[in-house]
Subunit: 215 residues, 2 copies
Amino acid sequence: MTGRQRLSLFSLVLMTTITTVGFAILSRGPLRAGDADPKQKILEGMTLPEYDARGGLIRPEGYERWTFIGTSLGIRYLETNDPPPKGPGDFHHVFIQPQAYEYYLRFGEFPEKTLFVMTNCAASKKSGPDLINKHGHFAGKATGLEVSVKDTEKFSESWAYFLFTTAGERKPSRALPQNLCYDCHAEHGQADNVFTQFYGMLEQARESHLKTARP
Amino acid sequence: MTGRQRLSLFSLVLMTTITTVGFAILSRGPLRAGDADPKQKILEGMTLPEYDARGGLIRPEGYERWTFIGTSLGIRYLETNDPPPKGPGDFHHVFIQPQAYEYYLRFGEFPEKTLFVMTNCAASKKSGPDLINKHGHFAGKATGLEVSVKDTEKFSESWAYFLFTTAGERKPSRALPQNLCYDCHAEHGQADNVFTQFYGMLEQARESHLKTARP
């Protein structure tokens, strides 16, 4: 082998190596800001709250596939001397972004941009000749949506509350006045304005976190 | 440039190209059996039912993160002349594997290995001095689990029904006798033994599928 041939062979091997290593790096995809930070990493891909130009919340989409955290039927926050409500009331189903749920399990706190979506569903009976439920109620179609958002960049009190009155309401919702939702959540929410006491899955996570958390 | 130099340069370019293209193909990851079949592809990664040596179903794990499809409170399938149950009864929450849900949305049928997990949660009131709910009930901790499985390889009737009586029951569950669950599901289930009529999300998907389905 001549010196020139050796040089060519060396160039060939070198170029091939550079190309291969280059491709190996590129094929991992771009480096992400969250790679180094477990708190950021767990939030990758989370649906974020979106607002219109006037600060109204745009109706969240796809929450049916988020993590479901609990239900209630006919919950009302009335004074006890008020007349009891007629009928069973509505079912409430509450969903949170899967990433915010995992974050809460791991770190015991709700991350910025947490969204809770609560659907209101009429309680249905449907007891007919070919229907089998003789007692009780099940949740019918959703009639509205309530949303809470943790977004300290947008709201000085961190949390804000929004209402979409009908099932298909597309109009962005303005934040509700502080005395309608925020004050009660701040006073009675067990953890960071959230009624974790009503949601078995969160309550359990909170208790387990309180037990095992180390400074 | 000599002929030998030209040949070396050609070899270099050729090797680099081969390596680059090779890497580009490899970086797509291995070909999967499901790549060609959309019905298989949609099911990738789905949690499958697991059985012990005697055919008992092993308690499904992680269903809290599956797709939630509906709730009921106090549903009972008693004859109307039976005395009404005392108290509100239990909340039932029903979950399905996310892949089986997407499959149902897309193809209007439940795939083999579909699992429905229903949790039973006591209805709680918790009306105390620092608690704010004056009316209604919310779902407390899960007290048991009911599971239905579509698995024609295992069960000649396709669907089988299982019960885990306590929250932490680890013992595999034997399929319940046909007259306890199967018969009623077969007679009254709106779609393939499933009570889609009680689950808004499935009922909506079913109606929309029936409207748009083309042969």
